[in-house]
């Protein structure tokens, strides 16, 4: 996958990455409640303005009617997790925005975990996980227990012929370890090697039979039929990955459905180009994909995924440069804004690395399932004087 390439690149950049510890306390957030009754200051609205001619072309005041659209299409709801797993649902939308109809399921974040120690990960991530990097099971446990991960992605990056060339059997053992360690649903990722990935994913799928994992990924450069078959044989879903191209995505989805997968078994990855590295291409492609789906295109009515981790490959996220301020702040923001932008275009599941980025993204995503005007919002009517400094 795309992000895998990035991570491999990061491994080479270790010298540049320099991020230190920082923490966040979320319990301390304070809400200002809405004032129960707003004072009405009676002011008559006469049309008398001193010193200026007034054009009295009073336009008719129409009523405000929320611009709610009807959509013929519906996004498939994909279940991840079964058997000994908790379940998570993706997609299911029948509208573009929450004021039209809130999403049935909130966006989900899946934490990246690796089958090898990954010394080249950005320091802020290494810092959180350095004690568990030798064992993918422990790593996954920490992501779930300490950072509230709803899901974990286990990247079998060590199976890459140029990485450690681990065998499919080794991969299956790693999968078993992670399945034992946590009960959240898993995404199972290959190393990005088109020859080996299908074989590795097949073995991994077998090891996780009945647990309904997401196999990442099927694409046009590899034996996608093998991946589709593994999913069907062992009850998993498939990530359908196309590179920033709506037509390529349609074709691949169609091929996968020909193999017997249903829309409920497919999640699309239309490719996340990071902030500053072509994010506008992803914005366009993802927006078009979701709109086409809601307008009725059956080949695109699946939830979408984002390899948000790509953000860490942007120079602004990792490069040490005093004029840009500390990298330890830039990295997480880069990841948040990359993911957030994708989320606002309709993406349902995010592969991410940094705990704070995950937290902030989830908080915004959780609002997507609520109805318009049902949240207590702070009183900002005096913000000009309330704001200190």
């Amino acid at each position: 996958m795309d992000k895998m390439m990035q991570l491999l690149k990061l491994l080479e950049k270790t010298d540049y990455i320099e991020i230190n510890e920082f923490r966040m306390d979320f319990d301390e957030l304070e809400f200002h409640l809405m004032p129960a009754v707003q004072q009405i200051v009676g002011k008559t609205r006469e049309e008398s303005i001193i010193g200026k001619e007034v054009i009295p072309s009073t336009p008719a005041v129409g009523e405000f009617v929320p611009p709610v659209h009807e959509y013929p299409g519906k996004i498939a709801e994909v279940q991840l997790g079964a058997g000994t797993r908790q379940t998570v649902y993706l997609g299911g939308q029948r509208a573009l925005y929450r004021f039209e109809e809130p999403q049935p399921n909130p966006p989900v974040v899946t934490f990246d975990v690796f089958d090898i120690p990954m010394p080249g990960l950005p320091r802020p991530i290494r810092e959180h996980f350095s004690d568990v990097m030798d064992h993918p099971g422990d790593w996954a446990k920490k992501a779930v227990h300490d950072f509230g991960a709803n899901m974990v992605t286990i990247h079998l990056i060590g199976t890459g012929p140029k990485v450690m060339d681990k065998s499919p059997k080794d991969a299956a053992a790693d999968i078993e370890e992670v399945l034992q360690a946590v009960d959240v649903p898993l995404v199972i990722g290959g190393s990005g090697d088109p020859k080996k990935d299908p074989i590795v994913l097949e073995k991994a799928a077998e090891a996780a039979e009945g647990e309904r994992c997401l196999l990442a990924s099927a694409n046009l450069d590899l034996d996608y039929k093998k991946v589709a078959k593994a999913a069907l044989d062992y009850n998993h879903a498939v990530l359908s990955w196309a590179i920033t191209d709506v037509n390529m995505q349609k074709t691949l989805n169609r091929y996968l459905m020909k193999e017997g997968l249903k829309p409920e078994d497919i999640v699309m990855d239309p490719t996340t180009c990071a902030l500053g590295y072509g994010i506008e291409f992803s914005v366009d492609v993802i927006t078009r994909t979701r709109l086409a789906a809601l307008r009725g295109d059956k080949d695109l009515q699946m939830p979408m995924s984002s390899g948000t981790t790509n953000a860490w490959g942007s120079r602004e996220a990792w490069m040490k440069k005093d004029e840009w301020g500390p990298t330890k702040y830039r990295g997480p923001i880069w990841e948040i804004i990359t993911g957030l932008t994708m989320m606002l275009c309709g993406v349902d599941i995010f592969m991410m690395l940094h705990p704070l980025s995950v937290q902030i993204l989830k908080e915004i995503g959780d609002t997507f399932t609520r109805n318009y005007l049902t949240t207590k919002v702070p009183d900002i009517s005096e913000w000009i004087t309330q704001l200190e400094g």
């Binding site: 914005v283 923001i333 804004i337 004087t385």
Partner: protein, 457 residues
């Protein structure tokens, strides 16, 4: 609402007289529909058609100008909901606030920070656009004093006070500079509207979370003859951001799809409010503010008031703005060919890159900051990055060989060595075979070029 060239052409004189500078009325119509020419260039129009054309060419979201002279900014002007349908116009203005209760030295420093904020990306200098002066003290004399001091910064101003007396006093000083009045609410609409008319300044309507009322009061302002309105439906942080997003999106849909005159105005967001409720440390609060700014910018904010002015917080927001507002119809490319850096002679190294603007300017920045003396050959890949054009086969043995032959570099240096980007390594062998030059594979990131040359050249 996208206006087609045909819609425009129908109303033109169709005489092809050429006075506008275009060969035909159709050509002029095309340029007009793409906003590349001014309607006034055709002097042959009849009044009735002229009026009609003005109407159909008026953007769905009206343009509002803040400030005067070369620093003035224009916001609004959008025609579509999604950038791929056309393009977005007038990048979101980024404004940072100053409070009127700052110590003199603090104020000076903050204004300087705002003025000096600059981040260079793809050959463009990204900067902040305006200063919002906040009447925190509630006192009109203090407000006026601050306005007087900030005026010299020579940036467009937003005057922030709900108190009409403070506003009036400030407008006496800077009213002729077209500051944006912030804000009229349901409680001060008469006085503020009168000031907007008296000083001919744009005005913000601030109605948190109530689009019914916003529509009603926008209508009131319009019926008074006010044309330059900015809408602030309230920025809420934490779980309230959902309502803010809904409000922003509904306003823009009303403007573009429903042609609702009361909503055809630029939208303002105020990420600065993040700092009011935050009990978190400054860094986390800054990250949250940047997140709110990015959220609203993605969904139609035309102007944003920020409080945090740290560069690390602004860089991602500036970058997002540049990305969202690139024109999807145009490739982001520089001219291909041969470029020189520093002092070059016949022994200078020859490097190669592609003509994607982001790639070229990234490499250029690294060569300059590393004080490298070299030739840089820029390959026409149709504006694609290095690995993209390797994958898409625009960067191949033949295209690189043609570049070497046609650029004249062979007469400029007395060696035949070409340094290619690390990401082009897969094609290094074929380039050697085809061109006869020795190919050296450079580092994967261009920031490594200076060290690479020190070691290997």
């Amino acid at each position: 609402m996208i206006v087609t060239a045909m819609d425009v052409y129908k109303l033109l004189p169709k005489t092809n007289c050429g006075i506008c500078g275009e060969a035909s009325c159709m050509a002029f119509a095309t340029k007009l529909s793409e906003k590349e020419m001014e309607l006034s260039l055709c002097t042959q129009m009849m009044d009735e058609e002229l009026e009609k054309l003005k109407n159909i060419l008026a953007p769905a979201v009206s343009e509002v100008t803040i400030g005067t002279g070369d620093k003035a900014i224009t916001i609004g002007g959008d025609e579509v909901l999604y950038r791929y349908e056309l393009t977005y116009y007038n990048p979101t203005a980024l404004v940072v606030d100053v409070s009127d209760d700052l110590e003199e030295s603090e104020l000076e420093e903050r204004v300087k920070t705002i003025k000096d904020t600059e981040f260079e990306r793809t050959g463009e200098k990204l900067t902040l656009d305006a200063i919002a002066i906040r009447n925190k003290s509630g006192n009109s004399e203090k407000f006026v004093e601050t306005v007087k001091k900030v005026k010299d910064a020579n940036l467009p101003l937003l005057l922030c006070s709900f108190n009409p007396d403070s506003m009036k006093a400030a407008l006496k000083i800077v009213g002729s500079d077209r500051p944006l009045i912030y804000a009229t609410t349901e409680y001060n609409i008469e006085e503020m509207a009168a000031l907007a008319l008296e000083y001919d300044c744009p005005i913000t309507l601030f109605i948190p979370n109530d689009l019914d009322k916003m529509k009603e009061l926008s209508n009131v302002l319009r019926s008074k003859g006010i044309k330059d309105i900015v809408l602030d439906p309230g920025t809420f942080v934490d779980a309230g951001i959902g309502d803010s997003l809904d409000n922003f999106i509904m306003i823009r849909r009303q403007a573009i799809e429903e042609n609702d005159e009361d909503f055809r105005f630029p939208i303002m967001g105020v990420p600065a409010v993040t700092w009011i409720s935050s009990k978190e440390d400054k860094v986390t609060t800054g990250m949250r503010e940047a997140t709110i700014a990015a959220t609203l910018m993605n969904k139609y904010a035309d102007i944003l008031i920020m409080h945090g002015a740290d560069i690390w917080e602004l860089i991602p927001v500036l970058t997002l703005r540049q990305s969202l507002y690139t024109d999807p119809r145009k490739p982001q490319a520089v001219d291909p060919g041969i470029y020189e850096f520093g002092d070059v002679n016949e022994n200078s190294p020859v490097l190669m890159t592609t003509n994607f603007a982001l790639t070229y300017y990234t490499v250029e920045g690294d060569l300059k900051s590393g004080n490298v003396n070299c030739y840089l050959l820029v390959l026409d890949t149709g504006g694609r990055a290095v690995d993209v054009s390797v994958a898409g086969n625009q960067l191949n043995a033949k295209s690189v060989t043609d570049l070497i032959r046609n650029s004249g570099i062979e007469n400029g240096v007395n060696h035949q060595k070409l340094i290619i980007p690390g990401l082009a390594a897969p094609v290094s062998g074929e380039i050697e075979d085809e061109s006869g030059w020795e190919v050296m594979v450079g580092p994967r990131d261009s920031s490594g070029i200076p060290d690479f040359l020190t070691e290997k050249w």
